[in-house]
């Protein structure tokens, strides 16, 4: 089981490039937090790279301001195909609390085709890991979020 898991993990190790399009740094901190030894995203082969030309996936945080649109498009073009765009945080999805301000055009999906949305303000590192694990096919997608369930007593009763 461990071997199959490893094979799945390293079939394609995703290298990510992290961009901020006008966020408050909350989501940025959580993204970096997901790479620290406690959450350790590198066990899935996820690695932060310094240039978009090495990257497979683009992590976008924050609402898209008018000034950043050409830079974001340029960034998108410089990521080699096939590429994955992951919007992190409620701002990157629909503009967040800046949904109707004059300098924000809205979410990332108005500029780029986004593959995965991870809502939250900011999303927990677990939520980011979950989103990326779903993207990699490690975990099956749940319709409902995690709910605490008691184990059924029948399990203990049967011998």
């Amino acid at each position: 089981m461990f071997k199959t898991l490893l094979n799945k993990c390293f079939k394609k190790s995703i290298w990510v490039y992290h961009t901020n399009t006008g966020a408050c740094n909350g989501c940025d901190i959580e993204v970096i937090n997901a790479l620290t030894p406690y959450y350790d995203a590198e066990r899935f082969g996820i690695k932060l790279v310094g240039t978009p030309r090495h990257a497979d996936a683009l992590l976008v945080c924050g609402p898209v301001t008018r000034q950043v649109v050409p830079a974001l498009k340029c960034l998108y073009d410089s990521v080699p195909d096939p590429k994955l765009i992951i919007a992190i945080g409620s701002c990157a999805i629909g503009g967040g609390i800046w949904y109707n301000t004059y300098n924000v055009i809205g979410g990332v999906d108005k500029v780029l085709p986004v593959d995965y949305f991870i809502p939250g303000c900011p999303p927990r590192p677990e939520a980011i890991l979950y989103g990326i694990a779903v993207a990699l096919g490690l975990v099956k997608k749940k319709v409902s979020p995690v709910i605490l369930k008691e184990e059924s007593p029948e399990k203990w009763m049967t011998f």
């Binding site: 030894p37 406690y38 959450y39 350790d40 066990r43 409620s90 999805i93 629909g94 503009g95 967040g96 609390i97 949904y99 109707n100 999906d109 593959d115 995965y116 949305f117 991870i118 809502p119 939250g120 303000c121 999303p123 927990r124 677990e126 939520a127 890991l129 979950y130 989103g131 694990a133 779903v134 993207a135 490690l138 975990v139 997608k141 749940k142 319709v143 409902s144 979020p145 995690v146 709910i147 605490l148």
Partner: protein, 200 residues
């Protein structure tokens, strides 16, 4: 003289037998503690459908949809644009209608996926004269309970209380409502018009 590196060796041995510091998160579920402010959740029995959460939401994640023909009010909460600030929970008039849960995990590929939205449906009290929205029936009952004995001064509360025990049919709509129509479910605007304009 060669000294064995005792400190390093003991540390290596210790780390060999201690479990890893890293979480096993996606394989094992992690449950956030109770104080964590996750996504809000409606409790349909406690919610009265007043729409305070809609007015208060800074990201306008909650949308209010009134259907006057069917007499149904829908409160649609969009998890993707929610910023988990907790204003809806704080300002809720019943204090229990909407609450932040400790759920935090959601990942979607499509923004119109059904798991993104949570909907509450409430029955509306509609003005019998002009067809405008008065309030949700649960809201009127909630206010009636708060007012106590004073609530019976107002016909709307009276009719709403009657409706709990027996079926009250809406009256036939006239061209102009008169003073005798005041003991009916009428919106504040129509009530004011009748009181001011209707002549004896």
């Amino acid at each position: 003289m060669f000294l064995p590196k005792i400190r390093e060796i003991t540390e290596a041995l210790r780390s060999l037998f201690t479990p890893a510091f890293t979480t096993k998160y996606p394989l094992k579920p992690y449950i956030a503690h109770d104080e964590y402010r996750g996504f809000p959740k409606y409790y349909e029995e406690e919610c009265v459908g007043c729409g305070t959460c809609v007015q208060v939401c800074p990201t306008s994640a909650i949308e209010i949809i009134d259907d006057k023909q069917k007499g149904v009010r829908k409160l649609v909460l969009d998890y993707t644009s929610c910023s988990q600030c907790g204003q809806c929970e704080e300002k809720c008039i019943t204090d229990k209608g909407i609450k932040l849960s400790s759920e935090y995990v959601l990942s979607v590929t499509d923004l119109k996926a059904p798991e993104v939205y949570e909907t509450v449906e409430k029955d509306l009290a509609v003005c019998e004269a002009c067809g405008d929205v008065i309030a949700c029936r649960d809201h009127l009952l909630f206010v009636k309970e708060r007012l106590g004995a004073k609530a019976y001064a107002h016909p709307n509360f009276l009719i709403e209380t009657q409706r709990q025990f027996a079926e009250v049919k809406p009256s036939s709509i006239k061209d102009k409502i008169r003073r005798e129509d005041l003991i009916k479910e009428v919106c504040p605007v129509c009530r004011h018009k009748t009181v001011v304009n209707d002549e004896f």
